[in-house]
Symmetry: C2
Subunit: 276 residues, 2 copies
DNA sequence: CAGGATATTTGACCTGCATCAATGCACCTG
DNA sequence: CAGGTGCATTGATGCAGGTCAAATATCCTG
């Protein structure tokens, strides 16, 4: 068996050349991470060969477990920019793991005021809000063209009865969301505009960095209005606060593009005690 | 078999007189709800004969399931007023079902600002914040003498692998907390002081009413400061807003005692469209 | 590439709530 | 029951951020 395209190895895949039936040569794509050859099925939709796996799935699974885990994902779904993945009131059937793209989730009061409850990126799980009432309790809208893995919740519950490690993982994801939401409550209830925006920028760039992007530069996927809605302030205040940070040489801003020049200064604004 | 104390029936229990061993007469306490006679064990700590069961446990279980469910509760724990049930950073081992009393949960920023994230009463489950990191991520403090059922999370996970209905229930409870938190985010991000307080009072009295208390009167268990921390406003503003509602004859207030005179007016403040 | 729609920035002004301060009320304890 | 302590109320004043408005910048589409 001969390895073709050695340069591909660092991506986690290898392509072997092998004699197939009838003496023909054929290529086998081999997933190094999962230690599995890839069949048409695993190529179609498979966690076992997904490079985001560490972000949305439990770690430390063996081959068999990994292969079974592929069953939680029913299929993939593309969502165009501006389109909802689900809306408040939609029947709940599945959780979604974001493969590519960027989402916002929001709730709104009866009289139409919108509160953005979060921004989600690749590897994050959305849809947890729907479990209580079998209907979604918020809206999830793609801020750029996106693709998600559809994970029917019935599958998740079924498999997590079989795999304690998956069960624990699901619980952790939900608990993490609760803790995150309570952090936002702290932000909204106690912090001033500058502190909120500093926290927001630090959080965003940290999550992007964990996905292999720069730790200082980013292109925001959301409008000033959406940032403001998330942080409980008006879009003008968001813009002014950006400008203020910029004047102080803490960041550089040009519309949606933001570069953090002094991360320490941002941390100090967010938490004055952190630098002692 | 002869029913003694018929007046007791409406409480959900019956006491029968029966001939026991050696010809002696003995009394059997019978739980009508669970359709189980009560053994010394079930009297000690048992969900099957707990009148809060509908609040914290799944409904529609049969006898056997109910009896097994009793195993999730390891023991009970009393918490005196002002004492923490757990603190931020404590190792996470268990969820707690509140039997009696009243709690607040809070997170705080490094520089000491506190955000109350919720108030919890009988039948509600606390501790979910600890699952992500195996350490608690907030503080839970009793606002009055309280008693909780300690449910080791290992027991819960073990049993919910066996009982899909329990598994689903746990998921729903966590999802409900996520949805609740997002509602608070809406409150904090978009509402004005009067709207926040109106929403707070309506929510509180509704939950108390679901537990058999008045739908219009209540005694607040928390200080103005704690209400303010929860609602993202200063205690003076809380007090002023109470006074304003009182002047408008929407409520009657005397310190911690509150009577809602015009629930419709409160609903209208909270949501101006709700009365059309 | 014109022209319109949408997003962002900036300025001027205003208001809801915070802040500071004093007083009042309820409850506890010696 | 006097005096202390913690909590609640109320008043006076200030300011962070909201509101309104106008100018730019960017993007989309025919």
């Amino acid at each position: 068996m001969q390895v073709k395209y050695p340069a591909l190895l660092q991506s986690g895949f290898a392509i072997y050349q092998q004699a197939g039936k009838h003496g023909k040569l054929c290529l086998i794509i081999y997933n190094l991470q999962a230690r599995l050859p890839m069949t048409p099925e695993t190529i179609k939709v498979a966690c076992s060969n997904c490079n985001l796996r560490e972000l949305c799935m439990p770690v430390g699974l063996n081959r068999d477990e990994l292969q079974k885990l592929d069953d939680v994902v029913a299929n993939r779904r593309k969502v165009a920019q501006g389109e909802p993945l689900y809306r408040n009131g939609d029947p709940f059937t599945s959780l979604y793991a974001i493969r590519t793209g960027f989402f916002k989730t929001s709730v709104s009061s009866e009289d139409g005021r919108e509160q953005v409850t979060g921004f989600q990126m690749a590897g994050e799980i959305i849809g947890l809000d729907g479990i209580t009432s079998d209907r979604h309790n918020c809206n999830a809208v793609a801020l750029e063209d996106a693709e998600v893995c559809v994970m029917p919740f019935a599958n998740i519950e079924h498999l997590s009865r079989e795999f304690p490690v998956l069960q624990r993982h699901v619980h952790k994801i939900m608990s993490r969301e609760i803790v995150r939401d309570q952090g936002v409550m702290l932000l909204l209830g106690n912090m001033r505009a500058e502190e909120r925006l500093a926290a927001f920028l630090l959080n965003l760039v940290q999550r992007l960095h964990a996905r292999g992007f720069s730790r200082s530069e980013m292109v925001l996927r959301m409008t000033r209005d959406e940032i403001g809605s998330y942080l409980g302030m008006k879009l003008e205040t968001v813009s002014r606060t950006f400008s203020k940070f910029s004047e102080e040489n803490i960041i550089e801003v040009k519309q949606r593009w933001v570069k953090i020049l002094q991360p320490e200064a941002l941390k100090k604004i967010f938490n004055p005690d952190s630098c002692n």
